[in-house]
Symmetry: C2
Subunit: 371 residues, 2 copies
């Protein structure tokens, strides 16, 4: 049976591990590197599908844990699956819930069998085994499902990280055995903390099992940017060049540029929409804080030269007014701009890689962005 | 000098005072009857301009009181006026602040000179005389400004209503004398409560003064639907047929149908967007409450046959999920549908008037809508 997704490698950068490609999915092709906005509850907060597309979004992420609890994957399936439910006809990836076992650890109890959650909504039980994580994701029907992984909290003893890594591999095998949909890819998740040997072993064993793509997990969980960089750098070389690589939970512009240099193709993060809701906008000259009094009568857009649905017609003055007045349109427009910014950043990175000048591009971009 | 707006009467209904027309403004023409969404703070809550247009909106309302306090009319003027500030290139009408003197009476003190407000934001003083109300509206730059009126709270002694009506006429004269923009219309506001003689006198004296259109004010202030109907019926005959008539603050579908029958051309109300934010949607079969458990897996749109940006692709199931999950997209989509519903209602009323069958249309619509 043909693979549900196919990664087509296009260009590689001479000065780094950066690369461009196309991820072909049942719902269309995505040029990589690509940033995936997060639609945790089957909606990217405040942004309608056509505005996502206008901002440059091509592939979205949604969350197994949240959707299983509400509205329930059965409801989504009865409504024709996640694409139809949320009216997004492009590719979707669903996270497995493994990250929530970490981020909501006070509500989760993890055993070899799986993760038992007490719902953050009503205290009911969600018994998330690897098999159930796949079954839920098959009901949701995203183009790409993720294996259930064990993401350890850092800092931790190496032995604890090794145990989580081994469990991640065992769970990955169970996920692979449980899958039944020919039109849905499953990506493995590499754990191992900042330990090169654990990352390498995990990557090799997952590749041996064979997945449709590979994610680098266990980052954005409290470690330093240097540790993230190290995790990527030690993992990427052990992943197949002809499959896509996804760095989970990373969206700070500087970190995205680093990850691209390490050969990562896909990213997701709540940062652009969460910061947008808090009136903080991304720009190539550093953050623009829209509540700042300096913007009171500023006719400029959030970022000059940006052609997003926010910048093409609204001033900082208007946006500041919306935020001070508590108007929904403020968070909506700031989120749209932040998404457009990140999509443009990875698109220009892609162009630079294609022209063999990514190292220079990255250096200039980091200089402009500031710390 | 040419009139800033011109009302072109088109058809009149044989069985009622209903009529169709076109209001020509500096920012384009509006077919009437027309419903104006309320953008109090220079934004219709949660709805981007292109979605307003897609919902059928052609002319918006914004508020002098709110915008004078925040961001200040000077800021709006520096940013190029209200149209450019909020990126709406269609016609706009600004309310004068007279209604806020009623609705925020605990913060307002009214004398012959004008209304002194204590800001609901920071307690600062807004001294809203008729002259200042016009000056602020000229800075905002809407196509239509409203005179400052005295809207009495009901029930009230007839003598108190008569006093408010007289003051409204005196203030209207001061507004007319204060106006200086040739590209901005000013509408007079007829007060007089449910008293036919006061309404008539007010209408006649305002027409004598001469305005670019006339509003029926002092409704939606606690009186019964019957009293509203009476206020309209006794006022309309005393207004020029070749100028537009605007019923302020009315948006309940049944009341809109009544008002159209009485010869009203323009309406505004927060109802569609406020109800939308509360998950209550308008439909020709009565209200649809989106939080209702019955919609849990309902694949139908809010209203079958509706082609609005919400109904054309989202199910009740999805909308219910958004509201239960506290997602912004719920209020956004419900507001869009409610606007589309009201715009469709007045558009089909317009067609019925054009075909001389408004009485039947209204009866059938009221039957379908329920009480």
């Amino acid at each position: 049976m043909p693979a549900p997704v196919r990664f087509e490698l296009q260009a590689t950068d001479p000065g780094s591990a950066a690369r461009t490609g196309v991820l072909h999915t049942p719902h269309g092709a995505v040029e990589t590197p690509a940033f995936m906005p997060v639609g945790t509850q089957a909606t990217v907060k405040g942004v309608l599908p056509e505005l996502l597309r206008a901002s440059g979004s091509r592939m979205l992420l949604a969350n197994t844990y949240h959707l299983a609890l509400r509205p329930g994957e059965g409801v989504v399936a009865r409504l024709g699956g996640l694409h139809r439910f949320m009216a997004w006809d492009g590719p979707i990836l669903t996270d497995s819930g493994g990250f929530q076992a970490f981020s909501m650890s006070d509500r989760a109890s993890l055993t070899e069998r799986g993760v038992a959650f007490r719902s953050h909504l009503d205290g009911s039980l969600l018994d998330l085994t690897p098999e159930r994580a796949i079954a839920i994701q098959e009901s949701l029907g995203a183009d790409v499902a993720m294996v259930l992984d064990h993401c350890p909290a850092l800092p931790a003893e190496k032995s604890a990280i090794a145990e989580a890594t081994d469990r991640t591999i065992r769970w990955a095998r169970r996920c692979k055995e449980a899958r039944s949909r020919a039109d849905q890819a499953v990506f493995g998740i590499v754990q191992g903390g900042a330990h090169a040997d654990l990352r390498r072993e995990c990557a090799e064993r997952l590749v041996e099992l064979g997945f449709d793509g590979y994610a680098i997990g266990g980052v954005s969980v409290g470690e330093s940017p240097d540790e993230v960089r190290k995790a990527m750098e030690v993992t990427s070389p052990h992943l197949p060049t002809d499959q896509s690589r996804y760095l989970m939970g990373v969206g700070r512009p500087q970190d995205v540029l680093d990850a691209i240099a390490a050969g990562v193709d896909l990213f997701d993060c709540v940062l652009p929409t969460r910061n947008g809701r808090n009136a903080t906008c991304l720009s190539m000259r550093g953050p623009v804080r829209l509540r700042n009094a300096a913007h009171k009568a500023d006719p400029r857009p959030i970022e000059e030269g940006c052609d997003c649905p926010a910048c093409s017609r609204f001033s900082r003055s208007y946006l500041r007014h919306l935020f001070l007045a508590g108007e929904m349109l403020g968070p909506i427009l700031a989120s749209i701009h932040n998404l457009a910014f990140l999509h443009r950043l990875v698109r220009t990175a892609r162009e630079a890689i294609g022209e063999g000048r990514y190292v220079q591009f990255r250096a200039e971009a980091l200089e402009a962005l500031g710390p």
